[in-house]
Symmetry: C2
Subunit: 261 residues, 2 copies
């Protein structure tokens, strides 16, 4: 890929793409991860590759619901770890909530790789200055984030086979789940269990986007950065949320951008 | 992936995806091929995964221009070969025109693989019944399709490095080039050389789509099937073509589909 100048208008997108290509080579991701990323790229392109005002509202709502939750968990797959792992750990540190590695095509090798990667990232992040606005012992907040998922001792009722496997301490008992880049079936099953399912999905037409309690229609690394900011700020309670309204606003942006060549 | 029932509304899309995943594993495609495919999937999804009336007009125009050309060539990359190789060879047989393997990230290994694959496909296709409506010796028409590209003895003026390499007998001397899934820079360079550049691109906002002489906004395997039909039918002359108009129609479809959840 070579060096991309800072002035390149699509630099962030090209760097994310390279991260996904590299992580695939390193065995972190399933075959289809690059295809999923490409789909995301196209939707982000149509969204103007920036966080919309309505996506910001959704991120604020997600922050509020995670803070208000009794047993929150952040479920991550390979693409999320690669694109936004650091900020997801920071958010989990602020919320004092566990992260569960939960991947669609579960193999021991990938579970192990993603798990170790997150543990190493925790060590790195525990050395950094605490994020702006955060008060407390950052190092110990980061190090106390539990990385779950290796032990698949829980089940998601309503699903069969490997996709039903989860952590008893994580997704199984959680009341509120932030699960970026989720599959439609699993999103539906989690909603049917009465859990609040908060997702990040660039396709406002996807089944996941439509099924979720709150849908952030935004690119995961941008969304995670703002989520960290809003989680620290903590100045809002959960609202009565109109998720269809937010999806319609995203679709309006795509429709508008499609008319302006 | 398992067996996808015939009734699955997205069966064709899922099979194409699997073909790209398999071909990547087999070393036919560059790293970024899956990401490009995913981007295409997203646009095709927004286009309703069907060939629009305006795309049909573009395919007819492309057929007419290839038939009227003095030195036509069909330039193919890895994704095109994997998704539509057979019908591209059939079209080349009908037109009596060469195919040039020309890939963005040129490596000897991939060039060799794609070349041999097409030669083997030619042998297979030479045994089949001639396509409906075609008269003549199908076997010899298919076997006489030249597969160019291994010898990079031509240059595309206006480009530097490996991307400028082409076949002297193919792209360099061609007056009309059908080049599905092309890169924007190369499309621009070919147009600047005064050649007619006919492209297939699912993103009506891409630089390639905007630069080309005629843009087919459609999925390559669907487009290639219709192109074969129209090339055999041969009932139209090239027209004065309004490519911006056709792009606007594709964007209207995306905008409309974005408003109908």
């Amino acid at each position: 890929m070579g060096n991309i100048p800072d002035s390149h208008p699509r630099k962030a997108s090209l760097l994310s793409r390279q991260r996904i290509v590299d992580a695939t080579k390193d065995g972190f991701l399933a075959d289809s991860a690059m295809i999923a990323h490409g789909r995301g790229e196209a939707f982000d392109y149509l969204l103007g590759e920036k966080t919309s005002d309505s996506a910001k509202l959704a991120i604020k709502e997600v922050a509020a619901r995670l803070i208000a939750a009794k047993k929150p968990v952040i479920s991550v797959n390979g693409n999320t770890v690669v694109l936004a792992g650091k900020n997801i750990i920071r958010v989990a540190a602020v919320l004092n909530c566990p992260i569960e590695v939960n991947i669609y095509y579960r193999t021991e090798d990938r579970m192990e790789k993603l798990n170790s990667f997150l543990e190493k990232q925790k060590e790195l992040l525990s050395q950094e200055n605490s994020p702006e606005g955060w008060k407390g012992d950052w190092s110990s907040a980061v190090m106390s984030v539990k990385i779950l998922g290796k032990v698949g001792d829980g089940r998601i009722e309503g699903l069969d086979g490997p996709r039903s496997v989860c952590s008893a301490e994580g997704i199984e008992r959680a009341d509120v789940i932030l699960v970026p880049l989720e599959d439609g079936d699993r999103c539906e099953a989690l909603v049917n269990l009465g859990k609040q399912v908060l997702v990040v999905d660039l396709n406002p037409l996807s089944r996941t986007a439509k099924m979720a309690t709150v849908t952030i229609v935004d690119e995961i690394s941008r969304a995670a950065e703002l989520l960290l900011e809003y989680t620290i700020k903590n100045d809002q309670m959960p609202t009565k949320w109109n998720n269809n309204g937010i999806l319609n606003e995203a679709l309006e942006i795509i429709a508008k951008n499609s008319r302006t060549i």
